[in-house]
């Protein structure tokens, strides 16, 4: 019968219309500016730098300015300059750490390649602006956010990272202690085997 399919279709739309008043499966609108979306833990937008202490974020950055992320960033939106003292010796922290959010594609590769867990992905997405140049170029003071904040947005990952860093620190300390003990022991009787302490791993701040 001609028209049966049409009527069937109209029944479907009618079902959806009525359903949208009582069935949450059919009424899916989120009232965005009033109701904030429930972001999943994994959600990522732009990177930020993890700092240990809220009172001195720039002094306690985990970043050691090794520039791996700068090199690996596919769209090249990271710019790092190592902080150096008067003699030119590296202070192992960034003097300049810029991320151009007008280029960043939120791919998370900087997070994956960072050996120091210093850069992580933020979840702030309400960043529309009318300023083209400087507002979109984030400097290290804007990027530095505390570990507490990291725990708030990615609790599982942050707990993992903290546990790993603590374990590494402990292992490093024990190794240093053992090396010192071995040195002290070997210094007196026979200076045969020069202690060859492996360089301490990641200088965990």
């Amino acid at each position: 019968m001609i028209g049966k399919g049409l009527l069937q279709g109209l029944a479907v739309t009618a079902r959806n219309l009525v359903g949208s008043y009582h069935d949450p499966d059919r009424y899916t609108t989120i009232e965005y500016p009033e109701v904030k979306p429930a972001l999943p833990e994994a959600y990522r937008n732009f990177p930020f730098l993890v700092a240990e202490k809220a009172e001195d974020p720039l002094g306690t950055l985990r970043c050691v300015a090794c520039q791996i992320c700068e090199k690996e960033c596919p769209p090249q939106c990271i710019y790092i300059v190592m902080d150096r003292d008067e003699k030119g010796k590296a202070r192992m922290k960034p003097k300049v750490f810029d991320i151009d959010t007008s280029v960043c594609m939120s791919c998370q590769i900087c997070v994956e390649v960072c050996p120091f867990d210093a850069i992580k992905m933020d979840q702030v997405f309400e960043i529309a602006t009318d300023e083209r140049f400087n507002a979109l170029l984030l400097h290290r003071d804007q990027l530095a956010k505390t570990n507490t904040y990291f725990h708030q947005i990615h609790p599982t990952e942050a707990a993992e990272v903290d546990a790993r860093l603590a374990a590494e620190k402990k292992a490093a300390e024990e190794k240093a202690k053992a090396a010192a003990a071995a040195k002290a022991a070997s210094a007196k009787p026979a200076p045969a085997a020069p202690a060859n302490p492996t360089p301490p791993p990641a200088p965990a701040p």
Binding site: I2, G3, K4, G5, L6, Q8, G9, A11, V12, T13, R15, N16, D25, R26, T28, P40, E41, A42, Y43, R44, E72, C73, P74, M105, S106, C107, Q108, I109, E112, V113, M121
Partner: protein
Amino acid sequence: MFDANPAASPSARVRKVEPSSFGFQPSSVPPPAGGGGDLLEISLGPHHPSTHGVFRMNVVLDGETVVRLKPVFGYLHRNHEKLGEGTSYLGSMPYTDRLDYLNSMTNNWAYAIAVEKLAGLTVPERAEYVRVILAELTRLLNHTCLAGFLMQDCGCSGTPLMYAFRERERILDLFESLSGSRMMCNYQRFGGCRVDPTPAWLAAVAQLVDRYGPFLDEFEELLTGNEIIMARTQGVGRLPAALAVNAGVTGPMLRASGVGHDLRKVDGYGVYPRLNFRVPVGDHGDVYDRYMVRVLEMRESISLLRQALAALPGGPVLDPKAKQRGLRPKAGEAYGRIEGPKGEIGFYLVSDGTANPYRYRVRPPSFVNLTVLEDLCLGHTVADAVIILGSIDIVLGEVDR
């Protein structure tokens, strides 16, 4: 000429509604014999609501009949291949998300397969199953949206697309909670996947799979038997099987023309040989068949998802020996391809032993499928050209790269 897949049961080939069951004439009009009358040349696009992006067709019309049609490409040519040659192997992975931006998961997978071939990497079994789950979710997402867009082109403005996007959001929520991003997942890695899915996530997938069947029933109730849609799409844009094969057409469009060619069966990559599914094949090769094949494929995807979820083994999802950063494959080349929702998506990589590929080539299914656009549109009205283009299922990010 071609043996349809033996696994495809006859029921998959059944046309739900025979074209003769209603009184409308198909809209295909033979081109005028004498070529009399004035010809009109118009340019559809690059800004046109029905060209699925910045695609342009230069159409020559006799009255309302298309007598010549030349596609114009390049309005979204963003140099994907050139950038791929300047980026490391890992760095190209997020770029593949942006090729066919509806289906980032399958693009990732195709690229990962190509690199795994090039570097000789193996993939843990759990990762293979996770890849199947994600690829089939992507297929559901793509085909649902395509049906919505196609109906938009037919003139049902809004409603089917609205329903399609409602379901798409549910799949995107899953992608987002797994990979962190709605569209640009950047999830696959060489030798596995980036994140291990949690049991809660797998339960959410199972729940979605359970409700997708009823949604498809409703969607089909709305569209499949609709007389206007049948009148508009049946007999329009017929693609003969021989031409489809010769013109490199792949994916649902090839299968709608009656060729049972599906890389999941032919190449048997991943764990597809262990899963049981049928390959739907069309009989007429028209727009309606292309729609129908996709709907049937979604039904098979649901079954595939159920099997993959049930058989998902434990273990790691990423080969710990596989190098991601600083991968330097031996000099040589590899071509890896998978059955994406739009057809055969392949990556051809040439390595010269350095950290960046010497040549990085994407074989884009929708670009090659467009080869037959003119053949399909000749003799039809300009309104039919729009739905023929819609049924080819193009995404400009992939056509122009």
